[in-house]
Subunit: 209 residues, 2 copies
């Protein structure tokens, strides 16, 4: 019972971290050489979908079920201590190991693309021209089960050596927030169309603590 509760808690934590990260870093191996490339991702239940736009190199290596590693990292705060070595960052990261499956079903691919849009821009998919069959065909999406996954989290203030607390040096935590600036319309936005509130107020709130 206790094990199940802990597992559910961990799963919820892992999902929340994956859902909040704008991008992930995908690691794969070609002839013994590791490569790490950034790409976008979305989660549907216990499946992680990776958008294949990151490069043919990655797609060619991953689609055949080769082992991969997907890592996301959220930096929540800078941790400022009184000595070099106790400086740190508060962060939440997730590592998912597994093998990718190339999504071929147009329905599944469409749902993955929908999730990719909605995760970053909630509600926006309703405004957009829907994908064509050809667009879906030309896009590569990989699915990775979120099974072998772990989260690592640092929170809280710096931990200094006892003698260092006497030092006249401000120390603590600086929460970081990812904020949207002023939206820049492209040259062909129709007259009278202003950016919607979810754009003008886009942010990822600090979790600092």
């Amino acid at each position: 019972m206790r094990h199940r509760e802990r597992a559910d808690y961990e799963r919820a934590t892992i999902h929340a971290i994956l859902d909040e990260a704008l991008i992930c870093h995908v690691g794969f191996v070609v002839d013994g050489q590791p490569f790490v490339l950034p790409t976008t991702h979305a989660r549907i239940d216990d499946l992680l979908y990776l958008h294949g736009a990151a490069g043919n190199h990655m797609l060619g290596s991953l689609a055949d079920g080769a082992p991969l590693c997907v890592t996301v990292t959220l930096i929540d705060a800078l941790v400022l201590a009184r000595s070099y070595f106790r400086h740190s960052m508060n962060y939440r990261s997730v590592v998912v190991l597994g093998a990718g499956r190339r999504v071929v079903d147009a329905g599944e691919k469409g749902r993955a693309m929908h999730a990719l849009i909605e995760r970053v821009h909630p509600g926006r998919s309703a405004l957009l021209r829907a994908p064509t069959a050809q667009e879906l065909e030309l896009t590569t999406v990989l699915a990775l089960p979120i099974e072998e996954a772990s989260a690592k989290i640092r929170t809280g203030p710096p931990i200094d050596l006892e003698a260092d607390y006497a030092r006249p040096c401000w120390a603590g935590v600086l929460p970081l927030e990812l904020k949207g600036g002023t939206p820049v319309p492209d040259a062909r936005v129709l007259p009278g169309l202003a950016p919607p509130p979810e754009i003008t107020s886009w942010s990822r709130k600090p979790r600092g603590g």
Copy 2:
């Protein structure tokens, strides 16, 4: 001549991206399985220093000169188009391939640690208690030559299909800014010590464009 100019330009670009990123993602291989872990880094000239706190797993695998990949990614803006598939992000990323060398010289290790602090907190190292010989010994630092490195950059507005421009949907670019929130002093900051201006005004400005 032209080649040299281009190479210098690329090198400056690669250095600037590495210097701006708060963290990097390090890829390495253990028994054919790729792993990707976040860690902090600093650059001195053409050497990239990785802080070894990310885990023994990584250190054990990298210190013997095994191949690795260090990737940093800066997300500059969200790119909002009029169809699913033309959504994107403006970003700058760098990939460095090579093999790590474990830094053993205390002087070099101290310079690397200094660079690690100063990159994120310019000027702060002067306020801190200097590292002890024991601290230096207990910390693992890897050095990686920035030789086999490449940058990838996306800038500019969304590029929609011609027919989609008639769509009554706001489109453009939302620059993102990483901003410091309200600093949280730890419980033992000496009375009268306020956070310095470089903390209260910490930010990474949007490059959106």
